[in-house]
């Protein structure tokens, strides 16, 4: 008879200690990243400090990280809505692109409107275009039984190419010397900055979206039904929950939220539509949503952390000439360790006798 390590599911998952597990996972991933740097002959400890300083170590840095967190947060909130119903929307990237297109269309078509009409109209247009782009895979899923992962993924490529087509073709600014971009938006179409800071009022949109998200799932019937439907489709159908309707609803909401992110990006940060707004926020959003367990507050924290990581890694490049890909490695490692760490929240080890 031998003594061996065995596992057992906990009666109740860890609560407070799960913070420790999370911290442990983060430390492990940072240690692995540092090791990789060490192997490349870079000062690992200092490098980690530089990343932190670059991301959160000054007011500027914090501002930069916050600005970058905005689109990630909105896209992530969007996919979280769909994920709660177990609908795998991988298409935030495309819905974000279409949202940007919709908002730009309004900005370019009605330049004479005052800002208090123009900006809500842009937001509405972004919701419609983003939402419709989300509705397509939902309808195909319900009517044709296609897999939404693949359809949303393919629609991403198509949306980005459509954006390309617009800025290389019909929407190209005649005064841009042929560069692929629309003309610059008028000031009325630009979400303005808060006071002296670099932050824009889009942050407020994020907070509002987060609160609405929370209220929706906490207090409304649809919110409850989505959660129930996500946990058990069959039981939900049995309980006469309108599953098909909910699938369409979450995909439209999901797309609309990603569309908002697109609206803020073209309006507040770039001031025009151009292909460079596509930098993969939609994919980061999926990762963030899961790290945060689909909780709006945690999504905020995780968005800020991942945005900070990206901002901080730039500092690392500047100071130590570490290739840009290092940030991806860190991101991947953090995700995998946190994911694996979840195990310790739900299971415990004990020494037992082997049969």
């Amino acid at each position: 008879m031998a003594i061996s390590l065995r596992i057992r599911k906990r009666q109740t998952p860890l609560k407070l200690q799960s913070g420790l597990v999370l911290a442990g996972a983060l430390v492990l991933s940072l240690a692995l990243s540092a090791l990789l740097l060490k192997l490349q002959g870079k000062p690992a400890g200092q490098a980690m400090l530089v990343i932190f300083q670059g991301a959160f170590g000054s007011l500027w840095a914090l501002e930069d990280s916050l600005i970058k967190a905005v689109p990630i947060f909105l896209c992530s909130l969007g996919v979280a809505v769909a994920f709660r119903l177990q609908i795998w929307n991988i298409g935030a990237e495309g819905q974000y692109a279409l949202g940007a297109v919709g908002a730009s269309w309004v900005a370019l078509s009605f330049p004479s409107l005052p800002w208090y009409l123009l900006q809500p109209l842009m937001l509405a247009a972004a919701s419609v275009t983003g939402g419709l782009w989300g509705l397509i895979p939902a309808v195909l899923k319900l009517r044709m039984r296609t897999n939404e992962i693949i359809v949303t993924l393919m629609l991403n490529y198509i949306a980005i190419l459509f954006l390309d087509y617009l800025v290389y073709g019909p929407w190209k600014d005649p005064r841009s010397f042929g560069f692929p971009m629309t003309r610059q938006f008028d000031t009325a179409a630009v979400v303005s900055k808060i006071g002296e800071s670099n932050l824009n009022w889009g942050i407020l949109v994020c907070v509002a979206a987060g609160v609405i998200f929370w209220i929706f799932f906490r207090f409304t019937r649809y919110g409850y039904e989505i959660k129930a439907g996500g946990e058990n489709i069959r039981a939900a159908r049995y309980a006469r929950i309108p599953y098909d309707y909910l699938v369409m609803l979450v995909m439209v909401l999901s797309g609309a939220l990603a569309g908002w992110a697109g609206f803020l990006e073209v309006s507040a940060t770039v001031n025009r539509l151009e292909p460079s707004i596509m930098v993969g926020y939609g994919y980061t959003a999926i990762v963030v949503a899961w790290l945060a367990r689909l909780n709006p507050l945690f999504i905020g924290v995780a968005s800020l952390l991942l945005a900070g990581l990206r901002v901080g890694v730039e500092q690392l490049q500047l100071d130590f000439q570490v290739p840009a890909a290092f940030g991806q490695i860190m991101e991947g490692l953090i995700l995998l360790t946190v994911l694996a760490g979840g195990f310790f929240v739900n299971y415990r080890f004990y020494l037992g006798k082997k049969d």
């Binding site: 596992i7 057992r8 599911k9 990789l36 795998w88 195909l140 044709m144 039984r145 296609t146 897999n147 992962i149 693949i150 359809v151 993924l153 393919m154 629609l155 490529y157 198509i158 190419l161 459509f162 390309d164 087509y165 290389y168 073709g169 994919y283 999926i286 990762v287 899961w290 290739p323 840009a324 890909a325 290092f326 940030g327 991806q328 490695i329 860190m330 991101e331 991947g332 490692l333 995700l335 995998l336 994911l339 694996a340 760490g341 979840g342 195990f343 739900n346 299971y347």
Partner: protein, 305 residues
């Protein structure tokens, strides 16, 4: 058929081959019940490992094998997270894509743009002279011929062998498989790593045969296409071949349309392969989808108390 069409079809086979390897790998993985969305990352790591091995040893054949092994190793991380630690398969796969792409780009930085040894076209005597089929299928490189073998082998394995049956039953109904005395977790490890091996070969094809170069982002989204094609193929090897060639063909076609002097905007032409994938998926899914998907796909098995 004229020369233009024949060369288009030959190009379809070649540009479809890396996607075909990756699709076969993902089919094997998913048949065991594990969903691995890390195909893109695995291809990247496979491509770099293969290229570096070929560059240092001068042997592309060794490089091809090492590309596969590197793919299997990275897929092992996915298996560890999902099977060992009960991690969510969708997220773990996405993390793997990020990690694999990052690792390959990071470690490959000193080798970007270097040219290494690789495979070139090797017509098969006799077969290459067949009308029509010869120039399309038998004037390719050795790795393409290997993929011709891999397709029926995987088909036979999954359909007609004891082991294949075991692997599939683990993916279909893990509880029943366990009741029958099968080691469910073990089989899923095997499925995931063997699938990663094939996927790694797909990456190796990119850096050893398609081009003889290494560069950042070499895979350029082909891994995601492979994930899509698995469903398109209803988890069947022979259909994966059709899908991969169709996708490769449409890609090659839009470039040739440009070369022939069309005036259509290139953005719209580039949409073709993706739009086609959706359309075909819709047409094909209509009736058959549900029955084809392994019932246990993506669901973790909780360890017994």
């Amino acid at each position: 058929m004229d020369g233009f069409t024949i060369s288009l079809l030959a190009a379809a086979v070649q540009s479809g081959t890396p996607i075909l390897y990756a699709t076969l790998g993902e089919i094997l993985t998913e048949k065991s019940g594990i969903l691995n969305l890390g195909v893109e990352g695995i291809m990247m790591v496979g491509a770099l490992a293969a290229f570096l091995t070929a560059l240092t040893t001068g042997s592309p054949a060794l490089g091809f094998a090492v590309g596969g092994l590197a793919g299997a190793l990275l897929a092992g991380v996915h298996a560890a997270v999902c099977l060992g630690f009960q991690g969510n398969q969708v997220v773990s796969g996405l993390a793997l894509t990020i990690l694999g792409t990052g690792l390959a780009n990071f470690l490959g930085t000193p080798f970007v743009g270097k040219s290494g040894p690789g495979f070139t076209a090797l017509p098969i005597p006799g077969l290459a002279d067949l009308p029509l089929l010869g120039p399309i299928f038998f004037r390719q490189d050795v790795l393409v011929y290997l993929s011709y073998l891999a397709v029926p082998l995987l088909w036979l394995f999954l359909r007609n062998t004891r082991w294949g049956l075991d692997l599939r039953s683990v993916g279909e109904n893990p509880a029943a498989a366990a009741a029958n005395g099968l080691n469910v977790v073990g089989w899923r490890w095997i499925g995931t790593m063997a699938g990663g091996f094939l996927t790694g070969l797909g990456g190796a094809y990119l850096s050893l045969a398609y081009t003889h170069l290494w560069t950042n982002g070499l895979s350029a989204g082909r891994g995601w296409i492979a994930v899509a094609l698995v469903i398109f193929a209803f988890w069947r090897a022979e259909r994966a071949m059709l899908g991969a060639y169709l996708f490769g063909g449409v890609m090659a076609f839009q470039l040739r349309l440009q070369a022939a002097g069309t005036h259509l905007p290139s953005s719209l032409l580039l949409m073709l392969p993706y739009a086609l994938t959706v359309i075909v998926l819709v047409l094909a899914s209509w009736r058959q989808m549900r029955s084809a998907m392994p019932a246990g796909l993506g669901i973790n098995i909780e360890p017994p108390d």
